[in-house]
């Protein structure tokens, strides 16, 4: 019975997402893309936080890697968006492997602090290398050229057209993250979160799995960054700042870090709420602080966790499907 309702819910959401692209006004479409991009960032990030139990304060650096990777390629080599995205994701992945290599040999606080340090290093690098990155001006004029696939050329310069491309990337991310969560690798990550020493004693190199999770989540961050750069046609060094790193954390917490849909729901709430709050007051941070407080003090399962409890799904039941949900 539960299964059927899940499929129906997914179908409705999908229909809604497509409808937005077809019928909604430009601003709603733009906002929806921000939600989808943040969701990609957060879904990938939550593989590291919720699944593996590692709190990284530097993932914004990989988002920036994706954005600047695409931006630099677009300005200096080719405006082909597919190549740009590949370049962005590749740069983010390489950065994540290098930074991750140094960070995953530590845990908990030291890991968090190291990622913070490296993240801010990337930020200050971007800020200071004006000639390459444009410094605090960022890279401007990133074109949204049509995607040429040989047989067809898909224009994406119109907001509504680009929306469907972003939606496609989002769905791809959802499928990939879902598969990873249900895979043996995903189970090992859960084990590392629960008891990393025991995983070592099961015959697995915990460091390598952490690094893999770090690189994978970094790559998704890069994808989000690249898509974000195409959306705004511009990059900015603050996309690497630690306050930006806090967004996927916040969003995953709000939605529920142990759930699959949590980061998505959290993104909707975060961006939606921020828009609403900003209508009435400048001080959306105040309200977010309060909401975050409420969640940590009370609703630690996040929104999705809380709703799941309402419908009586026990933790054990969730675990029975191989720790997938």
């Amino acid at each position: 019975m539960n299964r059927a309702w899940t499929y129906i819910a997914i179908a409705i959401v999908l229909a809604g997402l497509v409808a937005i692209g077809l019928f909604a006004g430009r601003f709603v479409v733009y906002l929806s893309m921000r939600v989808l991009i943040l969701s990609i960032f957060a879904l990938g990030y939550n593989l590291l936080l919720g699944r593996t139990g590692l709190l990284s304060f530097g993932h914004a650096a990989f988002y920036a890697g994706g954005a600047y990777g695409l931006g630099l390629l677009s300005i200096h080599v080719t405006t082909n968006p597919l190549l740009g995205i590949i370049a962005g994701v590749a740069l983010a992945c390489i950065m994540a492997l290098i930074i991750g290599f140094f960070c995953v040999r530590h845990t908990e606080i030291y890991f968090a602090m190291l990622t913070l340090a490296f993240g801010m290093m990337v930020f200050s690098l971007i800020w200071n290398l004006r000639d390459v990155t444009g410094g605090d001006d960022g890279l401007v004029g990133i074109a949204r050229a049509p995607i040429s696939l040989g047989i067809a050329t898909i224009p994406i310069s119109k907001t509504s057209h680009y929306y469907f491309f972003v939606l496609f990337c989002f769905l791809l991310t959802v499928v990939l993250v879902y598969l990873i969560r249900r895979s043996p690798f995903g189970l090992i990550l859960s084990g590392i979160r629960e008891n990393d020493r025991r995983v070592e004693f099961a015959g697995l190199s915990v460091k390598n799995y952490r690094l893999a999770a770090f690189a994978i989540s970094g790559s998704f961050a890069g994808l989000a960054g690249a898509l974000g750069a195409l959306l705004e046609s511009y990059t900015n060094p603050f996309s690497a700042h630690w306050s930006h790193s806090a967004e996927p954390i916040l969003v995953s917490l709000i939605g529920g870090i142990q759930t699959f849909a949590g980061p998505i729901v959290g993104s909707v709430i975060f961006i939606g709420l921020r828009e609403v709050i900003e209508r009435f007051t400048q001080n959306w941070m105040l309200w977010f602080g309060l909401i975050l407080l409420a969640i940590i003090m009370g609703l630690r399962g996040g929104v999705v966790g809380g709703v799941a409890q309402l419908f009586g799904r026990e933790r054990g039941e969730a675990s029975a499907s191989g720790g997938a949900r």
């Binding site: 968090a112 602090m113 400048q282 001080n283 602080g289 975050l292 407080l293 940590i296 003090m297 630690r300």
Partner: protein
Amino acid sequence: MLESIVHVCLAGLSAGMFIWLVASGLTLIFGVLGVLNFAHGSFYMLGAYFCYTFLAWMGDNFWLGLLIGPLCVCVVGFVVERYFLRYVYHLALPYQLLLTFAFVLLFDDLVKVIWGAGSIGSPTVPGLSGSVSILGRHFPVYSLFIIGVGPVVAIGMWALLEKTWWGRIIRAASSDREMASAIGVRVPALFTAVFVFGTWLGAMGGGLAVPYVGLLTPGMGESIIIEAFVVAVIGGLGSLKGAFLGALIIGLLSSFGTRFIPTFDMFLTFILMAAVLLWRPQGLFGEAA
């Protein structure tokens, strides 16, 4: 050349002592409670703003402002620990960090609401204003004052922790919570007291910053917290001696950096932190994990 180096050193020392003032509270709180308080920068900022306000109210009396301002922030710190932080000690690290982060968001905006989003100018302190000629160049008197205050605070904290009965209890509770509780120490109350004291130190840093930084802005908490973190990590999380040394190193490093390699001084600080964490993860004086 010599006076250049001496001045850069002095500038580095005063910057370092500043960071030490802020990092001391952070380190104390981490050493005893095991909590890394992101909101410590906010307490610093609140200390500065409160101090400035009281200073303006009480007819420009800096010392009065410095006395009362941080005490107000202590009230805030008390509420944070007693009614919020206390309940998440048993939770995983991410939740603690995020709780303090929530307070950062809250306080940042609260400051904007109460004092406005723009920057507030800062007054000079009679008796400590102006500059002194050192080796032919001018150096601010207030900075010399800060260079003096730093070690005083360091010695004071050392004396408190090593020589007093209070200090012994604090050290006992931080190394073994359960045991301390078993011998009758009211650990929760002690933790609150230490947190408030740490808050006071941070707020004092903020108060002392009022004439030093030139301008008070709502973002000042964020910039100082990162530096304080770096210092705490380099020195060894929880080690006051380490934080003092770390602050000196960072202060001098960034002073030399700003003078001789201006573009990359921020970068240097982080490289140093990463290097220390990689080579000696427990910091210079920390205990091995």
